[in-house]
């Protein structure tokens, strides 16, 4: 297990580069740290407000970051320099995602909108969701054809890219705060405010995964789709066997709540970020 210290405030978001050689972390300390793995040497990318969301573009040469004042920045990873930015949302960015196919960017903000941006120019293409409910998480299906949107009112919607239509998948009773697709695109996991995790397969819901005692903030599948990890406001990281729905491990590494988790593209390691300012990277074999 490796602890990555350095942030001076809560870590809010994590993303592995597609080649697995870097881990990016965004923090309320107004920085992104680009960690070279496995050693953990970091380069600091300074922002002017808390970094609320980030994602590597699929090619891996660019990093996109979203901030608490609603800016979205593009950074070149090899040179660690800002390329350009847009003012995307009033009141801050909540989450963002790149389409796996063409790097189209989707952002959601505290202004209750979900917007799509052109992959090359970042001109706004459309607004997928215009008002209440407020979007809490976004996840593109692996084929890039479908985008899952979870909302504060507990609803989960699927946006079909070809038809540009938004269809309800489920109407939950509790706010949802995390989403992840299994690598084969068949299973969608959603984390609820009460700590349970919903699993939906082709609009059929399975029994919720129960173990966390408070909001699930982040979810990630291993590349083989057999294991799901979750990070929660209850301060734990849990490892789940997807087929059986059983909890395999529960880790309490952090002194405060867990805000984000990520699994390396090769599935060998995973990382969890916390409000205690640290990131823990661990070997998935330990599970």
């Amino acid at each position: 297990m490796l602890i990555l210290p350095g942030h001076t405030d809560a870590v809010r978001c994590l993303s592995y580069s597609p080649d697995g050689r870097r881990l990016a972390s965004g923090s309320e300390d107004k920085t992104v740290r680009l960690w070279d793995l496995p050693g953990g040497e970091a380069t600091v990318l300074k922002h002017e407000s808390s970094v609320e969301a980030l994602a590597f573009a699929p090619e891996g040469d660019k990093l996109t970051t979203g901030t608490a004042v609603g800016e979205v920045w593009s950074w070149t990873v090899p040179r660690r320099r800002r390329l350009y930015h847009i003012q995307a949302h009033d009141g801050g960015v909540r989450c963002l995602a790149h389409s796996p196919g063409d790097e189209t960017l989707i952002t959601a903000g505290w202004d209750q909108t979900v917007k799509m941006w052109h992959p090359g120019t970042w001109h706004q293409l459309s607004v997928l969701q215009k008002s209440s409910p407020s979007c809490t998480a976004l996840a593109f299906a692996p084929d890039g054809k479908t985008l899952a949107i979870s909302n504060e009112d507990g609803s989960l919607r699927l946006w079909d890219r070809a038809s540009a239509t938004l269809a309800p998948l489920l109407t939950g009773q509790l706010p949802l705060f995390a989403l992840a697709w299994s690598p084969n695109g068949r299973l969608l996991a959603a984390g609820q405010a009460d700590g349970s995790i919903l699993l939906s397969e082709a609009s059929r819901s399975q029994a919720p995964l129960r173990g966390h005692t408070w909001t699930v903030y982040s979810l990630a599948f291993t590349p083989d789709g057999r294991t799901l990890i979750s990070g929660s406001a209850d301060g734990t990281v849990r490892v789940w066997d997807v087929a059986s729905g059983q909890e395999k491990r529960c880790f309490r590494w952090h002194a405060r709540w867990v805000t984000c988790v990520a699994i390396a593209p090769d599935g060998m390691t995973a990382a969890a970020g916390s409000a205690d300012h640290t990131i823990v990277v661990w070997d998935m074999d330990d599970n």
Partner: protein
């Protein structure tokens, strides 16, 4: 020269804080309650309250334990509902049996309680008040004024996931806050918009969990401003000087020392008990 405490001129306010787990609470000072120096309070706090209306709504639980003033008599400890005044009255009971007729007749409604049951009367009938208290069925009661009118700034924050604490003692001293209402599903601080999240995180009770703490005396945890130079500890059994205001406390000590037999009043630093004697 006496230190001036700007906020102390109008202390009927509220402030926000988070705990070690990321729960969020709003504290109503009722005037004499202490306000942490670094907390979001005053007009800024009321402004934030107005912005919280869109948050998802959750069920509210009334908290009997948090309404009991530790170590001291109070309206709740002394059963304010016994007087059967023409105002809404909240009553905690072990069961609904003694009040079922009132509920069936629509004169009272059951509300969610964090222990036992709670019933809200539009007005407590005099005979029933006597019966509930003479039989010992009433576990605590008080007059109850809680409505939501956003135009008047009275947004129900507990229904948005916040723990609600109120100052429990009368205005003669800065006493403990009691957790009077708690959310069935608490909101986590990271579920607030960034600007509000940053503002409420200014005050952190890092050693406490609101879910486990019915009473809080902020002065025991951080620098606070208050009307008075003295405060009552969280157990309600000791009165002490507010740090930094020992000189004022020394002036008030003789009066405080006569308060009552159940309270130990700490002498001011350097106090000589024989100094006033011939």
């Amino acid at each position: 020269m006496q230190a001036d405490y700007p906020a102390a001129h109008s202390m009927d306010t509220c402030f926000f804080a988070i705990d070690r787990d990321g729960h969020v609470a709003c504290f109503d000072t009722g005037e004499a309650g202490a306000v942490p120096v670094q907390a979001l309070s005053g007009d800024s706090a009321y402004s934030v309250r107005q912005q919280l209306a869109p948050l998802p709504r959750v069920a509210v639980m009334h908290d009997r334990q948090g309404r009991v003033t530790p170590g001291q008599p109070s309206e709740f400890n002394e059963h304010g509902g016994r007087m059967a005044l023409p105002y809404p009255t909240l009553v905690f009971l072990a069961s609904l049996d003694p009040v079922r007729e009132e509920i069936d007749a629509g004169r009272a409604v059951e509300v969610v309680a964090s222990e036992g049951v709670a019933v809200l009367f539009r007005q407590m009938p005099e005979a029933l008040a006597a019966q509930l208290h003479d039989s010992g069925a009433c576990l605590g009661c008080c007059l109850y004024f809680q409505s939501e009118d956003p135009s008047e700034g009275s947004l129900d924050l507990t229904a948005r996931g916040f723990f609600s604490y109120s100052h429990l003692t009368e205005n003669w001293i800065s006493g403990a806050y009691g957790r009077v209402r708690r959310p069935a599903q608490p909101i986590h601080v990271d579920q607030l918009p960034p600007r509000i999240r940053e503002a409420v995180k200014a005050m952190r009770f890092d050693s406490l969990s609101f879910a486990e703490t019915p009473h809080i005396q902020p002065i025991e945890h951080t620098d606070c401003v208050s009307w008075e130079s003295a405060y009552m500890d969280v157990t309600g059994t000791h009165i002490r000087p507010i740090p930094g205001r020992e000189e004022e406390y020394a002036d008030a000590y003789d009066e405080l020392a006569e308060i009552g037999e159940n309270i130990e009043v700490e002498p001011p630093p350097g106090h000589n008990p024989n100094s006033g004697e011939e």
